[in-house]
Structures are given as structure tokens and as C-alpha cells.
Amino acid sequence: MSNTVTAAPTRVYRDYGQPYWRRALVTRESGIIALFVIVVLAAIVWVPYFDQPITMTFLLLDVAPILLIALPMTLIIITGEIDLSVASVVGLSSVLLGTLHQAGLPIPLAALVAILAGALGGALNGFLVTVVGLPSLAVTIGTLALYRGLAVGLLGTTAVTDFDPFWTSLAKSKIGDTGVPSIMIPFVILLIVFAVVLHFTSFGRGVYAIGQSSEAASFSGVKVQRTKFILFVLAGAVAAFAGIYYTLRYGSARGDNATGLELQVIAAVLLGGVSIFGGRGALHGVIAGVLLIGVLGSALRLANVTSDVINIITGTLLVLSVVSTSFLAWLHKKQPRNRGIKDGSHAAKA
């Protein structure tokens, strides 16, 4: 009997874990936030008239609809679906606000009706996707046309523009002396609600789970269909609210308001680090994505560059961001896996 037990040769595995600070800070989202900060700094230095408080005011007034709609859109894309009809809901709610206002309804009541209509529109999307089982891409292309068509059909190409100045200046008003538009208040409230739901409730857990694998999520007890349905309804309601703001801010209710907005929202969401395949993403990256595109647009306009150059840049950024994710994944796969074993003695197995 020996007293010394020969310890089996220990395999020293390389530590792949990273310290918390690194995991928290070096993420896709922080890349976008850093990019945003750099662009703002560059704009302040090089673009004339950029560094006034009114720039931020106009910027936030312009991107508020995108910020609002990006919130539910993030959740929808995380579940692996998509909603292309949001801009048409904006247009429809704008038209409803205008026609009801013309019919004599007070604005708050008309706004409520518009939001309900938006929620209904989202419910139709949700129904077709969850109950009938259609792919959300096809459904929302159809409802994009349908809702936009209803909006244009109701009002033709006329615009309702005789809104009470009280409401139009409310839409553009600022919080005290800060220069921050008042629309940021409802936005921040919604942001907090969505962030809490996404990260601190089981509903939000379910959203991520569905994005990773809806079958596994379903077997784990997540109510997949109900979750998706709720998300689509939310998207419709928030889009309708954004439509009311848009109408009052520009003072014009028109059937083709906000045409093409859905592309800007999706571009910002994808830029912000949300994966198109679902299952990944967070809201802070999305906010940075929206603001980044907004700042670029604002800076280019002030520099008297045609505002359509911003389209080239948005499109290119969108393509770059998704291609780079794919490229990084490919690189990651290429890393050899078992560099970890340090003792080098496979023979020690014996």
C-alpha cells in the first residue's frame, strides 16, 4: 500500500471565460454605441452649424417615430418574425386622425380611435401569422399594401392640414428649457416598459427562447403563438401612436405619410445588433442604431449634401452590419477547438 497517490495528470484547459467587465462592454451593442459617439464628435468638429442645441431638438423630433416603432420591432425580430406593415399603420392612423378631426371629433378621441385601429391592424397580422400559420414576411407585405391602400383610399391625395395649433405645437414642444422634445417622455416610458419586459420577465425570456428555437420554447412551456400575437398587436398600437405624433408634428394628415419608414426602422434595428435570424439583441444597441442614422442624416443635411446620400449610407451600413455578423461567425467557426489541452500527454490516458 502506498501512501502517495499518484495524481492522474491534470489536464490544464485554457480558460475561455472572460472577466465580467469584458463580457459586458465588448459586445455588438457597444460597438454601435462607440460608432455613434465617434460620428457625433466628428460632426461637431467638421459640420457647420451642427453644435447648437437646436440640432438635437430637430434630430429627436425627426427620429421620434423611428425610435418609437423600433421598440416593438426589436422584439418581433428577436422572435424571428418581421413586420413590414408598420409604416402603413402610421399612414392609416394619420388618415384616421385627419378624417375624424374633419368630422368634428376632438383630437384626443380621434387619437384613441386611431390607436385602436392600429392595434386591430396588428391583430390581423398576428392572426394570420399565428392561427393561419403564414410566414410573417408574406403576410406583412400584404398588409403593408392593404393598410396603405386603405389610408390612401380614405383620403385620396388630399391632406388634412387644419389642425388646431394647440396640438401641433404640443407635438413640437420641448421640456422646459432643455431643448429635448416632449415626445421623448412617452418614448422613455415605453422604453423602460419594453426593457423591463424583455429582460426581467418570463415573457421576455420567452421572446428570446422563441427566437432561438420556437419548438424547444414551445416544449418548455412558452406560449409561442400568444407571445407572437401580442407582439404584433403592440407593434400596431405603437405604430399608430407614432402616426399621431407624425401627423401633429408635420401638421398634415396624408395617406402616404411615412412611406418607407419600415425600412428605416428595420435598418436601425439590425444595425443595433439584433440578429435577423432571431434570438439575439438588446434595446440599447437599437437606440444607438436609430440615433446613429439620425445624426448622419442631420449632419449631411447641414453640410448641404443631398439627403439622398443618407440613403446610400443607410443601405450600405445595413448590408455591412449583417454581412459582418455573418463574416465574424464564419471566422469564429474557423478557430480550431482543442487548443486547450496543455499537458500534451495524451498517452497519460493509459
Binding site: 401638421g251 398634415s252 448641404n304
Partner: protein, 352 residues
């Protein structure tokens, strides 16, 4: 966070992307910082008044506004201000608001705008005026409280009368006519259409207006709407199109259609666009004024406002270079002159 990302590679890629975009922005900023496109800095800038004037037409890519804004540029070069032209690609009111906001930020001296809607851009215009920017409307007005001065190309009643007279001549003063307008909210077209209908009701009882369609000042839309009009109303005798984009598109459709020569077409058009159609008989006669003069006058009015020579009150007078002296009328309206009729005999003499 829940899902561990790719670590250093992401950071590296993010940094590279950041550098790339910053370089792009710097390049843009530097290149356009050395002067706005189409800016002509005057050498003889005597006053310290801010004579930077920007034209904001209904939309870009419109031949009528190209001519008028060139006239405006000519005037600005004469008195040593700086000229710029911006505009949306589609003639909608909310698109103009963004540009007005940007101009406010840039602190220009005056905005010369042709409004897509009488009310919708009012809020933004007043914000600009609060910041010290002068607002001149030309071609298409806003409500009185949103601008300082309106340069009207011709008396609205006169424009309506001329067009109705032309179509009545061409269809024998009896029959169905239709109107192909610009966008549904355009202040000027709507004013003229109202007056045209009144003129027809008062003085041409045998003519009926069967439909008014809107081409949105877009060429393809106007083209398709003309086709639809001819299809839907087989007894149509004439079309009035009080917009240069509309009449050009309608003429192009008529030229290859079986209705050429059978349906009369008139309205407001530019000689260069309409020359072919007048020469081959598709269009007999149409009217307009000189848009270059309109822009020219608008620039001088803006200058007068900036320098404080006028405030837009009735009775103010100001000097308008080659056009002479002008007086502001009621409601801050300045009238350019009378409409002019173009036909086969004189169309060769003009180039705009």
C-alpha cells in the same frame, strides 16, 4: 448580457467600421465645407446684412422651377448675395418641413418657398421667422400669417380666365372638359381651379367640367391619369392642365393616341417642353408667364426684406433690378404681371 458575443473580434471590427465611417464623414464634411453647392459668393458684399437666400420649390426635377430658380440666381448674383436651392423629390408638404428646419438651423437670410400646402408648413416657417429668417412665398402661397411677402405670378382670376378662354375657343364653347391638376393640396392650382369653374359657370354655360384628376406634378402619374381620363369619358372634348408637368405629360400621351386632334389640350406650359406638340398640332395654344422673372422678382423682394427696405405692408415699394420698381399690394401680395399666350406663331421665339 445573456448571449456572449465574439469578444475581441467584434471590438476590432467595430473599431475598423468606426474609422471608416469617420473618414467618410470627414471627407464629406471637408469637401462640402468649402462652399455649398450652387453657391455664388458675391464679391461686392457691401452691407453686413445676411444676403444668403435659399430657394425651396415644390419639388426638384421640375422644369418650371428650374427656370424660375435660375432667374432667382441671376438676381442674387447681381446684388452680391449667395444662392442655394434645395427641395424634396416629391411634392409633399411634410418633406418641405425638414428643409425649412435645416435652413433655420443654418441661419440663412431668407427662404423663398413655393408651398405644397397652405397650412402644413406654416409652423416650421414661423419657427424660421422667429429665428430671424425672412420668408417669401412664390408661385404657391401659404396662409397670410406664415410668410412676409407673396410673389404672385399673375392675377389668379386672370390666369383662370385665360385658360378657360383658350379651351372654349378650341372646343367651340360647348362640351365636356376635364382638369388635370398637380397635387391635391397645392394652393395655387386649387385657387385657379375654383376660379375656372366659376368662370365657366358664369360665362360658358354649355361647357361642363366632368372630372378633376391629380397628377401630383409627377410625370408618369400625369401620363397615366390622362390615359384614364380619355378611357373613362369617351365624350371628352378638352383637357385643361394648369401645371407644366401635367400638360407636358398629357401632350405626350395625346401625341400617340387616337384622340390626337379630337381632344383639345391647353393649360400652363413652358415653350421648350411644348414646342414639339404645338408644331405637330397636338396642342393649339397654351399660356404662361416668364418663370425666370418670377424668381428674379422674388430674390429682390427677399433682399428688400432682409435689408429692411420693406416689411410686407401694403404700399411698400422696392427696387427689382431690371424689372423696375414694385409695390406691395394688399395682404403682402406682389403681382408680377399678366399671363402670356403661346401658339404656333410665337413659340420659336422663346427659350425656357
Amino acid at each position: 448580457m445573456l448571449f456572449h458575443q465574439f469578444g475581441t473580434r467584434t471590438a476590432r471590427a467595430g473599431a475598423i467600421a468606426a474609422v471608416f465611417v469617420s473618414i467618410a464623414l470627414v471627407a464629406t464634411g471637408c469637401s462640402s465645407d468649402s462652399g455649398t453647392p450652387a453657391a455664388s459668393d458675391g464679391g461686392s458684399g457691401s452691407s453686413d446684412a445676411n444676403l444668403s437666400i435659399t430657394f425651396l420649390p415644390k419639388n426638384l426635377g421640375n422644369a418650371y422651377f428650374e427656370t424660375s430658380d435660375k432667374g432667382g440666381e441671376k438676381a442674387i448674383k447681381e446684388f452680391g448675395g449667395s444662392y442655394a436651392e434645395v427641395g424634396p423629390s416629391e411634392a409633399t408638404p411634410d418633406a418641405q418641413v425638414s428643409y425649412i428646419n435645416t435652413l433655420t438651423q443654418q441661419g440663412v437670410g431668407a427662404i423663398v418657398v413655393s408651398a405644397n400646402d397652405p397650412k402644413a408648413i406654416g409652423g416650421a416657417l414661423n419657427d424660421a421667422r422667429d429665428a430671424g429668417v425672412k420668408v417669401v412665398t412664390y408661385d404657391s402661397d401659404t396662409d397670410v400669417e406664415y410668410r412676409d411677402v407673396f410673389i404672385n405670378q399673375a392675377d389668379s382670376a386672370g390666369i383662370a380666365k385665360v385658360q378657360v378662354g383658350l379651351i372654349a375657343d378650341q372646343i367651340g364653347d360647348a362640351g365636356e372638359v376635364a382638369i388635370l391638376s398637380a397635387s391635391a393640396n397645392a394652393t395655387n392650382q386649387n385657387a385657379w381651379i375654383e376660379l375656372m369653374k366659376k368662370e365657366i359657370a358664369d360665362n360658358h354655360p354649355d361647357i361642363t367640367v366632368v372630372e378633376t384628376v391629380y397628377g401630383d406634378d409627377d410625370d408618369q402619374t400625369s401620363f397615366d391619369k390622362t390615359a384614364a381620363l380619355l378611357q373613362t369619358h369617351p365624350n371628352l372634348k378638352g383637357i385643361i392642365s394648369p401645371t407644366t408637368v401635367g400638360i407636358a405629360a398629357a401632350a405626350r400621351y395625346l401625341q400617340t393616341s387616337e384622340y390626337k386632334g379630337k381632344v383639345a389640350l391647353t393649360g400652363l406650359g413652358t415653350p421648350n417642353q411644348m414646342r414639339d406638340y404645338v408644331n405637330d398640332g397636338t396642342v393649339t395654344a397654351f399660356a404662361l408667364w416668364n418663370p425666370a422673372d418670377l424668381g428674379y422678382l422674388a430674390s429682390y423682394a427677399a433682399k428688400a426684406l432682409i435689408e429692411g427696405t420693406i416689411t410686407g405692408a401694403e404700399g411698400d415699394t422696392f427696387d427689382a433690378g431690371d424689372l423696375g420698381s414694385y409695390t406691395v399690394g394688399a395682404d403682402g401680395v406682389v403681382l408680377l404681371g399678366d399671363p402670356y399666350e403661346f401658339n404656333k406663331d410665337n413659340i420659336a421665339d422663346f427659350d425656357f
